[in-house]
Symmetry: C2
Subunit: 441 residues, 2 copies
């Protein structure tokens, strides 16, 4: 990672916090196990004051190094400026429970493995912090590990993108946002950038042609500049780059053609956050509160991390509770209907569920998710159940299987920043639960 | 204010944020009026992005300069690291309403004035953001101004001290904390500092003899060093001072004798925060959540601002909603009983209500609050109604009048940092409402 000398402290710009990549790493054998790395084994930030070797900080980057990140994902606001996503003041909606003890014993074959694994073992394998399964609107499984409990929120990272995309889809359905317009219709400042001649729809589906690398292995990758721009702390003295996410977006250059290939690049999500803010006159934070968080009886407020000028990080800054993410998943599974009331337009969800351009996805070169597509910042499996998912880089997921009438929400803090590291023991596990639930009656 | 050169930006250490003083200034005629200074007239941080002259920042100090501070007091977490005070997940308690329209027209004489003022006029005079009056457990008056509404929280600043003192009193009542012990019994690190030979009780009542100045007019005052220690941002390169509130406290030198005179010094509150954290094994944040916030049906979570190593600022870092502060006020007025259930020990509240050492208070030289005392970090009027109050530096207050069965909570953002600037039009106004309510039947 690129280091800046900031007031005598080496500031490691923790890209994981500000932008998300797909790592090629798939092997976690070099790391402490999920059990070994549980925060209570280390006492991060415990004590008044904590012992000096247990103090974590955003400015020296220590808070997001494994295994400390397993604590920090539930404490992001204690390191960073954040903005509240209000649930309002009403009574929270009750979740019905019909817990099913059989789920722990379900088995599946991890990709490229002949050895079956149980559902329960997969949770440890994937450094799960919390997981909740809903079937036909009832909670059939809920479990917390390590530092997480039902009173806490957790960084969902790139899962944030699916919220941004859903908000955009809602605004399209409402006629507030025209997906066929050029980006510059809403954000003239993006004239001259790669986004200048892209349509809103191309941004929503990440089929923009951008000269922008999210390769973590490359110290010259653009992600580091993006990270530096979005870092909310004072800039280093020699810093010459853009300040804030928006300022960075105006510098992104074009590469290739728009509409041709899917390319998973976080800058699209922040560009979309900018677009929907301009179209609606409301921040992403306000939109999420008004359209969703205050409408379905959320149990807790959520929050966004901010850049240095107060911009909510639409590409990866949301923090929310396990149960509230499940409420959101159920809202989407029911095409915007919540307990009999239509909260968001049916069209907004059907537009996600119909999926994206499979050929464009194939061109992205993602060899692991063959046959998938990407639409409205959701990952579409294109499997026979019509499953689709929001995904965060440390294993966070909302996985919605319409045929199985199932929603799985997982919060996790896998040591490897990249879903390639956990998909092999996650996606077939989700399918095993779906098959089981469909077989129940 | 003292400036540090931090990464090329002049960092103004905003003392108002980190420590609290009583200013001698009493005249606000040089400032924009309450109406003129309302945040909506300026559009602070509005827009995506906001216009450059409307962007506020903690690192350059702009966020806490009047009139911008009138916006920032409701948005502290958007600038600073914060820690959640959980209300739990339960249903909030209902406040009963019996609104009384006569209150606005009540008149009183401001101190040293022959011209009567109405209650309503006093709210504008004092840059009120929100005010709520409860009488016999019912809301008789509730009003919001400017940027505040019932969904938001507000920085209460030194009112935080009364929460710290109440928590300490609860722990004494529970036998967890021994007020007669030396501070070093709980915090050996304070050996060698002024607190080393003080008792816990002396800290609770701020009768410690400390070489510590909170005079804002003096650029060499100790408050600036305290502010620098508590500042959560990376320290300037040439910074040689202590890091964090606790580290600073170990450097405070003695002056005079303990137990002799009251001296309003914020460091006592943070020392007490440290003491109660050690005695209980829980942070101030955890204590407030466990003892109070999760027990009386609060509507919203509260939060504390933190220093750079995660210490909640027990001297001035609490942020909470108007209604939840009123619930707390009612809990105290009812000696710890909430809707029939004893939530905190009666003794803990009676210890506050019995007041402190009036002679010690007199020696503090406070010419404005003659005859008052200070106990458990509450201000005791010693009037015939037995009223007592928590007070924040920009006019925030919880004012409890047992005889009138009244609780007033005010949130405010007065341009002058010091209650001397607003007492003359606040305390007699509160008394007028008390007299009126007592006369009702």
């Amino acid at each position: 990672m690129k280091n800046f000398d900031l007031v005598g402290i080496k500031i490691i710009l923790i890209s994981l916090l500000f932008i998300i990549s797909i790592s090629n790493a798939q092997d976690n054998s070099e790391y402490l196990s999920a059990k070994e790395s549980e925060p209570q084994n280390f006492g991060w930030m415990q004590g008044s004051p904590p012992p000096s070797d247990r103090i974590l900080s955003a400015s020296d980057g220590s808070f997001f190094q494994f295994p400390a990140l397993r604590w920090s994902v539930m404490h992001m606001r204690e390191f960073l400026p954040t903005q509240n996503v209000s649930r309002g003041l009403g009574v929270s909606s009750q979740l019905e429970y019909a817990l099913d003890e059989n789920i722990d014993k379900l088995t599946f074959f991890p990709w490229n493995s002949q050895t079956p694994m149980t559902w329960e073992a997969s949770l440890w394998e994937n450094y799960t912090d919390g997981i909740l399964i809903m079937h036909r609107g009832k909670v059939v499984y809920e479990r917390y590990f390590g530092e997480l409990d039902e009173n806490k929120v957790h960084a969902v990272m790139s899962l944030t993108k699916s919220f941004t995309g859903t908000l955009a889809s809602i605004l399209v359905a409402e006629g507030v946002l025209d997906e066929s317009k050029l980006v510059t219709y809403y954000v003239p400042e993006l004239e001259g950038s790669a986004f200048g001649d892209a349509t809103v729809r191309q941004v929503m589906d990440m089929t923009t042609g951008l000269k922008y690398s999210e390769n973590y292995a490359d110290p010259e990758a653009d992600i580091w500049e993006y990270s530096a721009a979005g870092n909310p702390f004072p800039k280093p003295k020699d810093y010459k780059g853009p300040v804030g996410y928006y300022a960075y977006l105006t510098t992104v250059k074009k590469q290739g053609e728009h509409g041709d290939a899917f390319g998973y690049k976080t800058v699209n999500s922040d560009a979309l956050g900018w677009i929907i803010s301009r179209a609606s006159g409301k921040t992403v934070t306000q939109l999420l509160s008004e359209k969703i968080w205050s409408k379905i009886g959320m149990e807790q407020d959520a929050y966004y991390q901010l850049d240095g000028i107060g911009t909510p990080y639409a590409g990866g800054g949301l923090n929310a509770s396990l149960r509230d993410l499940a409420r959101f998943g159920e809202l989407i599974r029911n095409k915007g209907n919540w307990q009999g009331e239509q909260i968001i337009p049916v069209w907004a969800v059907e537009d996600i569920m119909k999926g994206g351009d499979k050929k464009a996805f194939e061109k992205s070169g993602n060899n692991q998710l063959k046959g998938w597509s990407y639409r409205d910042m959701w990952w579409i499996t294109e499997n026979k159940n019509g499953a689709f998912s929001g995904r965060g880089v440390h294993g966070q997921a909302i996985y919605i299987d319409p045929a199985a009438e199932m929603v799985i929400v997982r919060l996790a803090s896998h040591p490897i920043a990249g879903n390639a590291a956990n998909d092999a023991t996650s996606l077939p596990a989700y399918q095993a639960v779906a098959d089981y639930l469909m077989s129940k009656n």
